[in-house]
Symmetry: C2
Subunit: 300 residues, 2 copies
């Protein structure tokens, strides 16, 4: 990354700082009982995350001319859910990982029971935020956001994707099956983050919302494709989490199915589709376009 | 229990059947992927639970003259959350229990990872229901229910109570500390169940709502006091879950702090307080009074 920040890098840094400050103020203080649980929640959420989901929410909020204070809360909701999913995924009965964002995973730093409850409580807190703040002009729109998040996290969303992932270990999945797994496991929450940002505003008509949704779905999948690439190519030190884990776990990935070169082509193709979906939007979609590049071309 | 059912027993059986049928229709079918996860969710929820929380919701709904179809959904929400909490509580890193409702616990019947995801997805589903159905005349009232449930399940509610419980093992807690633990761990969701039923109607004024809330809080605590009694007095066969577990785990309970006799007195005293709180209500509170008796005087 160049020392001289460009406009997108400044925007990203500003939004990352904003979401960090907001999450810090939203999470229960460690001084309040149960202190160990609150400590674990803060440990799991605060720190060095890339905040991709919040960035997507902010960018979609700009497209929909949404109030940025509202979008910030919606963005925090998606990050709380993301953090909860990482804490549970890292548990010994799941991926059994010890390193996350360059630090010991939550159950290593605390203990398994605290990590379990930490994830549970972060999920509750995410829903609490949607109900606790004014995120849209109408309460009915906020209820829609509750529904959207619940579906994105549930058995036909993120949790379901994890279940499919577990069942897939050691199996020969087709490309379509791998894609279906990732649409649930990673894509659903990324899609929800984009739609959350847009729902905080009200300037998009149904057709525009559909186009944004198509962008969101392409990004959800592209993110995982690039994750597979990074997992295959990177070292643990640069990745901040255990590298080469998928191959070690005998998990089917895009790289194992397609090879490195075709996986790179797929990521670029999804980026193209995402940009096409934004074709009818003007400068208000600039950040969304830049994030598409950031996600697909990211290096750590 | 007498062979001839009295009116309350018929009401209870009717509501238990109703909630069973509703939960069966709400839970994703096992034929839909991810099948193993959906199977675990159904296994964890359907079957022989006493459905205390739904019964409380139905009874409070009658007090508030709420539409019974709406109350049934609200009741199902509370039972989904209760089932999720049991699945996570039974995990090896928590209470490590193998028997629940007379059957193998979810992680024994399936596996730990599936049980973890099962609980996660049940929590999502509970929030989804609140947003998916019309439970109150105004969406704002439903958002209030989202908030109520989120707080009741979060780090200052059920999950927090579990965390305090874990920290308490082997420690000498005071009676006040044990009470604070149970108010969070068990009481918060029982209280939410009562308030959910009432929120589905709109016939209670603020003062009446406050009286109902006092009843709910007494019941939440009474339930745990009686649970401690049963755990100390019963056998595993009659209890349907591992008996004597608390003493074996060196957990502070009402019985270990007060002894059997004073614990019985406390349960009866809480029942008295709960009935007092309903003093200004007439026949519409009959079911709530009967449930107070049922909870405090129950034998299995």
């Amino acid at each position: 990354m160049s020392i001289i920040q460009n406009d997108f890098q400044r925007w990203t840094a500003d939004k990352q700082q904003r979401i960090e400050t907001l999450l810090d103020s939203i999470l229960p203080p460690v001084e309040i009982a149960p202190q160990r649980l609150h400590g674990a929640m803060r440990y799991a959420v605060l720190g060095r995350g890339k905040r991709i989901r919040p960035l997507l929410a902010f960018a979609a909020g700009e497209l929909a001319q949404a109030d940025v204070e509202r979008v910030a809360i919606a963005a925090a909701v998606t990050e709380l859910v993301h953090a909860y999913s990482l804490v549970h995924d890292d548990l010994p009965c799941m991926d059994d990982d010890v390193l996350r964002r360059g630090k010991p995973t939550c159950h290593v730093e605390y203990d398994e029971a605290t990590a379990l409850l930490c994830g549970d409580a972060l999920q509750s807190l995410a829903f609490q935020l949607i109900a606790d703040y004014r995120l849209a002009d109408e309460p009915a729109a906020q209820l829609e956001m509750v529904k959207l998040l619940a579906i994105a996290t549930g058995s036909r969303g993120m949790a379901g994707g994890q279940a499919i992932d577990l069942e897939s270990i050691g199996k020969n999945l087709s490309l379509l099956e791998v894609e279906a797994m990732h649409i649930h496991k990673t894509g659903a929450l990324i899609r929800a983050a984009v739609l959350f940002g847009a729902r905080c505003g009200n300037s998009l008509d149904d057709e525009q919302f559909g186009q944004l949704d198509r962008y969101a779905q392409c990004m959800g999948l592209a993110f995982q494709v690039v994750d597979d690439l990074l997992d295959a190519e990177s070292t643990t030190a640069t990745l901040g989490k255990t590298a080469g884990k998928d191959a070690g776990n005998n998990k089917p990935t895009y790289v194992s199915l397609l090879g490195l070169s075709a996986t790179r082509d797929l990521a670029l193709s999804l980026r193209g589709d995402a940009l096409d979906a934004l074709g009818s939007f003007g400068a208000q979609a600039t950040r969304l376009r830049e994030i598409a590049d950031y996600i697909v071309l990211r290096k750590f």
